[in-house]
């Protein structure tokens, strides 16, 4: 009852013997009212048609006017306060009841979640997409060419002489064409023939990359596969320089391998570029100090590149005096081996779910 009735009203009631008795009864009744039923009993006992407060208020009619007003005021105040109190208690009981019933609905959240099937992109596809995205971001288009190629595109127009060792049956797969006796149909040994095809069909300026499969006559082992993936790149424009090639591949290498990686360009030789370069990134395993993966050099070779040889331009009818360009090619499996630590190139084509699910 404490706090239910304002203090001054309570004091006034104490002074009246009828009211003080009523108040005492009410306090007693409320003290034990801890559930809905007893609350209802209190309501009936005091506020019902024959309830004590109701009766009090009915009985004041016979009293003198002043006394009637005073008791009426106090009685109504008591009625209002009691109704409020009952409401409060009911609400509290409802909340407690709900809480209790929810508690009974406890679940074991450590049980496994309901199965949802889980699929993965092949690691090589992801790497190719990553490479594509980096170059698309630098303004390149993605183009494709056939995997079964003509000698002309794979070798000749790439300035590779007829006697070149890579053309031998030990290095290149040749294809039998049904109904024809041709010796110049082969599985492309690199994605570079796409360069020639694109230049044949598109005038400069040209900024393209060409991802795809390539084939070499290698018996499979940990680092060789007769089928593998490459991404070729080609930029031809006015005023393209070796410095542009360096800048472009530095951007690529850092985006692909990490911003903190160092990039190194070493002169090299390819038949269809001049000057040519091999490009290394600093070894992430030893940080450049030398380890087994980088064979003690601190560097990992990731791609070959160079300025497009003027002979190649003359094959496709580009003006080598007006335009210059650079080209590069990288092995996707090699990047996967280096970036993801897959130890054996054959794993990529086994399609072992235990490997596929890891990426």
């Amino acid at each position: 009852m404490q706090g239910m009735i304002p203090e001054d009203v309570a004091k006034e009631m104490e002074g009246d013997p009828r009211l003080s008795a009523l108040l005492a009864d009410l306090q007693e009744a409320l003290r034990s009212a801890e559930d809905m039923d007893s609350l209802e009993r209190v309501r009936v006992a005091f506020l019902g048609r024959k309830g004590k407060i109701t009766s009090l208020l009915q009985g004041i009619r016979e009293l003198p006017a002043e006394e009637r007003r005073r008791l009426g005021r106090l009685g109504n105040a008591l009625k209002g306060h009691l109704e409020e109190e009952l409401g409060r208690r009911r609400e509290r009981l409802l909340v407690e009841e709900l809480e209790e019933s929810l508690h009974r609905e406890r679940i074991d959240i450590t049980l496994p979640g309901r199965h949802v099937n889980f699929g993965t992109r092949h690691l090589l596809s992801r790497i190719i997409e990553e490479i594509e995205d980096i170059f698309v971001g630098m303004g390149y288009r993605v183009v494709e060419g056939p995997e079964v190629e003509l000698d002309y595109y794979n070798f000749e127009a790439l300035n590779t002489p007829d006697w070149h060792p890579s053309k031998s049956l030990q290095d290149t797969f040749y294809v039998e064409v049904p109904g024809g006796d041709y010796e110049d149909v082969l599985l492309r040994t690199h994605t570079s023939p796409v360069q020639v095809r694109v230049m044949e069909s598109t005038p400069p300026p040209l900024y393209v990359i060409a991802p795809g499969k390539a084939y070499r006559h290698d018996v499979p082992d940990a680092t060789h596969s007769p089928m593998f993936h490459q991404v070729e790149g080609l930029a031809v424009d006015e005023g393209i320089s070796l410095g542009d090639l360096k800048g472009t591949l530095e951007v690529f290498a850092r985006k692909m391998f990490g911003e903190d990686r160092r990039v190194r360009f070493r002169p090299h030789f390819f038949p269809f570029t001049e000057p040519s370069a091999e490009v290394d990134v600093s070894c992430n395993i030893c940080g450049g100090g030398g380890c087994r993966v980088c064979k003690g050099t601190g560097w990992l070779e990731i791609l070959g590149a160079g300025m497009v040889d003027p002979n190649v331009f003359s094959y496709v009818g580009y003006d080598a005096e007006k335009y210059s360009g650079f080209a590069f090619g990288m092995g996707v499996e090699r990047i996967a081996l280096l970036k993801y630590g897959v130890p054996d190139i054959r794993f990529f084509f086994d399609n072992d779910l235990r490997l596929l699910r890891q990426y």
């Binding site: 049980l111 309901r114 199965h115 949802v116 099937n117 889980f118 699929g119 992109r121 092949h122 090589l124 596809s125 170059f135 971001g137 303004g139 390149y140 993605v142 056939p146 995997e147 079964v148 031998s168 049956l169 040749y174 039998e176 064409v177 049904p178 109904g179 041709y182 149909v185 300026p205 900024y207 499969k213 018996v219 007769p226 089928m227 930029a235 005023g239 393209i240 070796l242 410095g243 542009d244 800048g247 472009t248 190194r264 070493r266 002169p267 030789f269 001049e274 000057p275 091999e278 003690g296 300025m307 040889d309 990529f348 084509f349 086994d350 399609n351 072992d352 779910l353 596929l356 699910r357």
Partner: protein, 800 residues
């Protein structure tokens, strides 16, 4: 190419250590693959002088020696036949360790104590020579550590020489690079020959009949040689370079080849008929047995060295047995010639001989260096084999090969590299490489290319020389001005990615399988070639029969991947692949390479869980994936049509139609195929051509009005004969339902007790609404009744 730094230092001052030098060479295009420290692995082996050698009292073959090992004389028992008083030889003292791990101790041999051991080259691990003990040259002190006496400590750089740089296949060439890179002077070997006797001219005649294949032939005559082993230092250098020492005369030819890059050949002059050298193509009657003992059938394309009676060598590739230098040889005809690279390559390929000589000739030997190399070798034979060099050389020139003259535009070259290049700098770099370079105008430089650089033929070749000597590292990194260029994937490229993404989201793993398949697979899948093409693309030179055909379908590879996993006890396999297949085209050299999408699933699609039963993958799992794909990509105008394929379960397969054309298949594998491949028959597969699929994609889906008025939902359960397809029922429902029927969804299929044999019940949920008003229930009921009537009339269906 293996380069000993000790040897290299004869031609150029080396102020850098091996690692610095390696870095410098690598940065200029001569990649250093490894740096090898070479040290004598001998501990406790010293130089000893045999003071006395007397027979062992109780063993004929053994010798008792008194050996001075430096201030101390030891008794050593030796079994070698060549031991003699006065010689210097390596001695292993007790406690010494040999390279093979043997530790030498004091030993009693037939009653005589041996306080050490005289060693053979084999025991020292320096050669296979085990016949006698190694005899050291005078000059070493008794007691000196053997490693020191032999100057055995050395560093070898293993260089990767690119095919365009034949000039670097010799010590002098590498030294030239090093000199250019370090600004040092190049020292060519200098020597002087003491010519004696009659001029060579009188006894040697050289005729070049095929001047297109041999531009020049220099012959020198060295008389009175005594054949024997070369001195240790030469054998060491040869071995260090990977060449097996043979005898002093042959070793000299190899040594000079390694030193100057000119392959040489020594003939036993007395075995050459008429002292006559004829250089000509082979004729059909020619025959030759080469030094390796193989009788060679010759082709008219092979260039031969002949004497008056016939072939004596396969020019530039290998000498003949008939004129080989042997221990009895006293007079040597030395050949130093220049042969055509392509011809040498063809001959070396044809006969499958890869010799040090052919390797160099193939790549290009300096046509101007024949005489100098001949002189150098003659000098060394004079010094090491005691030969008398006859005055003069017989120098036959069929074709004069003049140095090439080129012009380089300095401004353009600098722009191509991306550096500010001055004429002074360009000239300096070119000269450092041994080229003649003169400024001829403000911009241009005229360059005389020495004959040892056959790779420099064009201006761009000179640009490369300047760039690599300038240093790629010094070239500033820039980016092309591509502002006008927009990079973007094409619609098809984006859709292909989307396709893969949807399938991954659906729970499939992407596989990449190799494009070659075994020919036997075709028979397994389609013996009669009903579906797979009858003509396939075969490899002329497959690695094996198992990888001999370019796949005409993705199915074999995917099923193989399935099997790979099953064999590893991974039983639930859900795979897809996006890749090209290869289909020959009539009248075309190149095949069609359509991109295909294939899926294969087997095992459980949903595993058993703590509150769920497992769900097996089947036809409808795959169909669901296809529907998801079609829906996500907005593929329009597709359908499945009952069809049989030889590799699919006949009534559980269908053709996938896109805009009325068959574009693929879907079904369960044929039990026969499953059995053959040892995969479960419960395997669902599909394959579809990606191009028609993407053509059926609606790139920009159309806006369809969203209903604002409530819909009426009604259920419909009908009984039809078992042979009636659900698709036919749905088609009738949709047709009879008209445009107000918006959705039809099958939610139950029942066969069993409550129905007659051969009947099934199908229950549908139907959704009706109008876009312009609230549909009254009566309207929907009218349509519903029309549907029921139509089903009864057309399919004999009754309400359930």
């Amino acid at each position: 190419m293996r380069v000993s730094l000790q040897w290299l230092a004869e031609y150029v001052d080396l102020e850098l250590d091996a690692w610095e030098l390696a870095e410098l060479l690598t940065a200029s295009g001569t990649a250093v693959e490894s740096v090898e420290k070479v040290a004598g692995e001998w501990r406790g082996v010293v130089v000893g002088r045999v003071l006395e050698a007397s027979p062992h009292p109780s063993a004929d073959r053994l010798t008792l020696c008194k050996v001075d090992v430096g201030g101390e004389v030891r008794d050593i028992v030796c079994g070698a036949p060549n031991v003699a008083a006065g010689i210097l030889a390596p001695v292993a003292l007790p406690g010494a360790r040999l390279p093979d791990g043997t530790v030498i101790g004091e030993a009693s041999i037939r009653g005589v104590t041996s306080q050490g051991m005289l060693l053979s080259e084999k025991e020292l691990g320096v050669s296979e020579e085990a016949e006698g003990i190694m005899i050291l040259e005078e000059g070493a002190r008794e007691g000196m550590d053997l490693g020191e006496a032999l100057a055995a400590e050395d560093t070898v750089l293993v260089l990767e020489i690119t095919p365009n740089r034949p000039d670097c296949l010799c010590m002098l060439g590498v030294a030239r690079e090093v000199a250019a890179l370090t600004g040092k002077e190049l020292r060519r070997p200098s020597f002087s020959i003491a010519e004696t006797g009659d001029p060579a001219e009188g006894e040697v005649r050289v005729e070049i009949l095929d001047g297109d294949l041999c531009s020049r032939y220099v012959a020198r005559l060295i008389d009175g040689v005594s054949i024997g082993p070369s001195p240790w230092w030469m054998r060491k250098r040869l071995r260090g370079a990977g060449v097996r020492p043979i005898n002093n005369v042959v070793d000299v030819t190899n040594y000079v080849m390694l030193e100057l890059g000119q392959p040489l050949h020594a003939f036993d002059y007395h075995l050459l008929e008429g002292g006559h050298i004829i250089v000509r193509r082979a004729s059909p009657t020619d025959a030759l047995t080469t030094l390796d003992g193989v009788q060679r059938g010759l082709s008219p394309d092979d260039l031969l060295i002949c004497d008056s009676s016939g072939p004596v060598a396969l020019a530039g590739v290998m000498g003949g047995e008939n004129t080989e230098v042997s221990p009895g040889t006293v007079k040597v005809l030395l050949e130093s010639a220049h042969f055509d690279p392509a011809s040498i390559m063809r001959t070396s390929r044809r006969h499958d001989i890869a010799s040090e000589a052919s390797y160099r000739f193939e790549r290009g030997v300096d046509p101007g260096g024949c005489r100098y190399a001949a002189d150098r070798a003659a000098f060394l034979m004079q010094e090491l084999a005691g030969g008398a060099v006859r005055p003069g050389a017989v120098d036959a020139v069929a074709r004069e090969i003049e140095p090439l003259r080129l012009r380089m535009r300095v401004g353009r070259s600098g722009r191509l590299i991306g550096i500010p290049l001055s004429q002074h700098e360009a000239v300096g770099i070119l000269r450092s490489l041994g080229m003649g370079a003169v400024a001829v105008s403000e911009d241009e430089v005229e360059v005389e290319v020495p004959t040892f650089r056959p790779d420099l033929e064009r201006e761009i070749d000179l640009v490369e020389e300047v760039a690599r000597l300038y240093g790629y590292e010094r070239v500033p990194s820039t980016l092309p001005r591509t502002a006008s260029n927009v990079g973007q994937l094409t619609f098809a490229q984006r859709m292909r990615r989307e396709l893969a993404r949807v399938l991954v989201g659906a729970g499939l793993h992407e596989a990449i399988t190799v494009s070659f398949i075994p020919s036997s697979w075709l028979d397994v899948l389609d013996r009669e070639r009903e579906c797979l093409p009858s003509e396939v693309l075969r490899l002329r030179n497959p690695l094996s029969e198992e990888a001999s055909i370019m796949r005409p379908s993705l199915l074999p590879g995917l099923l193989e991947a399935l099997r790979f996993n099953l064999n590893r006890r991974i039983m639930d396999v859900h795979l897809f692949e996006l890749g090209r297949v290869f289909l020959p085209r009539e009248g075309e050299k190149l095949p069609g390479e359509p991109l295909r999408l294939a899926c294969a699933i087997t095992g459980r699609w949903v595993p058993k869980q703590w509150d769920r039963q497992p769900e097996e993958a089947d036809f409808f799992t795959l169909k669901g994936i296809w529907e998801l794909l079609a829906c996500s990509l907005h593929v329009e105008g597709w359908s499945l049509r009952r069809a049989t394929f030889p590799f699919l379960h006949p009534p559980r397969s269908c053709a996938l139609m896109l805009n009325g054309e068959a574009a693929g298949y879907m079904g369960m594998v044929h039990p026969r195929v499953a059995q053959h491949l040892e995969i479960p028959a419960q395997t669902a597969v599909m394959e579809v051509d990606v191009e028609p699929l993407l053509q059926a994609v609606r790139a920009v889906p159309e806006y369809r009005e969203i209903p604002r008025f409530p819909a009426v939902q009604m259920d419909l359960a009908v009984v039809v004969g078992d042979e009636v397809d659900a698709g036919a029922v749905e088609a009738v429902i949709r047709e009879a339902g008209g445009e107000l029927l918006r959705e039809v969804r099958l939610f139950d299929l029942y066969r069993g007790e409550q129905l007659m044999q051969g009947e099934k019940s199908l229950a549908y949920n139907l959704v009706f609404y109008a876009l312009d008003r609230t549909l009254r229930d009566e309207e929907a009921q009218d349509i519903w009744r029309e549907i029921v009537r139509s089903l009864g009339e057309r399919l004999g269906a009754r309400l359930r």
